[in-house]
Amino acid sequence: MHITNPKSAYLTGIRDASPFILVVVPFGLLFGVVATEAGLDLLETMTMTVLVIAGAAQFTAIALMLDHAPVFIVLLTALAVNLRMAMYSAAMVPHLGKASLRMRLLLAYFMVDQSFAVSIRKYEARPDMPMPARIGYFLGTCSPLVPMWYLSSYIGAVAGSAIPPEFSLDFAIPICFIALSAPAMRRPQYFVAACVSIVAALALVWVPYNLGLIGAAILAMVAGAQTEMWLERRAA
C-alpha cells in the first residue's frame, strides 16, 4: 500500500478500523435498547447518538436522568466521562495540527476512541505521511465505524429489548480497548504506563465524576515518559 497517497491511505484506514465494527455494533445496539427503555423516542435517541457519538457518556447521561439527578450533575458527569478526548485532541496536534481550520473542525467531530487509537498508531509508525494522507487515513478509520454506530443505535431503538443478556454486550468495549493497547506493551515504557493507568484507575475509582480516570491517565503519562527517559539515559 502506498500510504502517502490520500486515496490509498483512506482505504487502508477503512481496512485497519473494520475489525472494530465487531465491537461498535453491539455497543450501539445496547444504547438503542437502553435509551428506548428509558423512554426516549426514536428522534431523541438518534439525535443524541449523532450529536454526541460517545457511548459511555450517553449511557452515563441516561442513567443519571433515570435517577432524576439535577441537570447540572448530569452534564458535568457525562462531560467528565468525555474529558479523555481532550487528551486525544492534544495527542493529535503534532500529526493533524497543520490541517486547515475547517478540516480540524471535521476531524474533531469524528474523534472517537477507536479512530483515535488506530490513527495514532499509524502516524507514529509512519511519520513520513504527508498531511493529505494523514487526513485520508483518519477519515478512513471513521468511515466503517461512525455510520455503523448510528445504524446499530437505530436498530437497537427499533428492535427494542429483544437482545438476550447472554450476548454480554457490555464486554465488547473492554475487549476492544485491550486489543488496541496490547500490541504496544512489548516496549517497556508503554507497559509501565499501562500498569500505572490500571492500578491508579482502580485505586481512584471512588473519585466522583469519573475524574479518577483523568488523574490516572496523567500519572500514567508521566510514568511512561520518565521510564522512556531513563531507558534513553541508560542506553547512552
Binding site: V52, R84, G224, A225
Partner: protein, 109 residues
C-alpha cells in the same frame, strides 16, 4: 422513565456541543504551533494511559455480575491481551477475546 422532555433535550444538545468542544480543544487552539519536546514525549503515551484505566474497573468489577469478579470476563480480557501482545495483532486480539468470552460462557454455563 425519563418524562421531562425539556431537560432531556437540554442534556442532548449541551452534551453534544460540550463533547465537540472537548474533542476540538487542543487541535483547535494549538493548531499548527510547535509543541516543546517534553510535551510531545508525554503525548505519545495518551492512548496507553487512557484506554487501560478506562476499562480496568469494567474488567475487575463488571456491572453485569453486580460488581463480582467474573472468571468469564477476566479470561476473555487476558486472552485478548495475550493475543494482542504476542502476535501484535489488534484484529486477532478482538477475535480471541470475543471467542473466549462466548466459549467460556458456554462451557461454564
Amino acid at each position: 422513565m425519563i418524562t421531562d422532555k425539556t431537560t432531556l433535550w437540554l442534556v442532548i444538545v449541551i452534551l453534544g456541543i460540550g463533547t465537540f468542544l472537548i474533542r476540538f480543544s487542543f487541535l483547535g487552539i494549538i493548531g499548527a504551533r510547535e509543541l516543546p519536546d517534553w510535551v510531545l514525549r508525554h503525548l505519545r503515551f495518551v492512548a496507553v494511559a487512557v484506554l487501560p484505566g478506562l476499562i480496568a474497573p469494567l474488567v475487575v468489577w463488571p456491572d453485569a455480575t453486580g460488581g463480582q469478579i467474573d472468571p468469564v470476563r477476566m479470561g476473555a480480557a487476558l486472552v485478548a491481551f495475550a493475543v494482542g501482545m504476542w502476535w501484535q495483532s489488534v484484529l486477532g486480539a478482538v477475535f480471541g477475546g470475543m471467542v473466549t468470552l462466548y466459549g467460556l460462557q458456554f462451557l461454564l454455563g
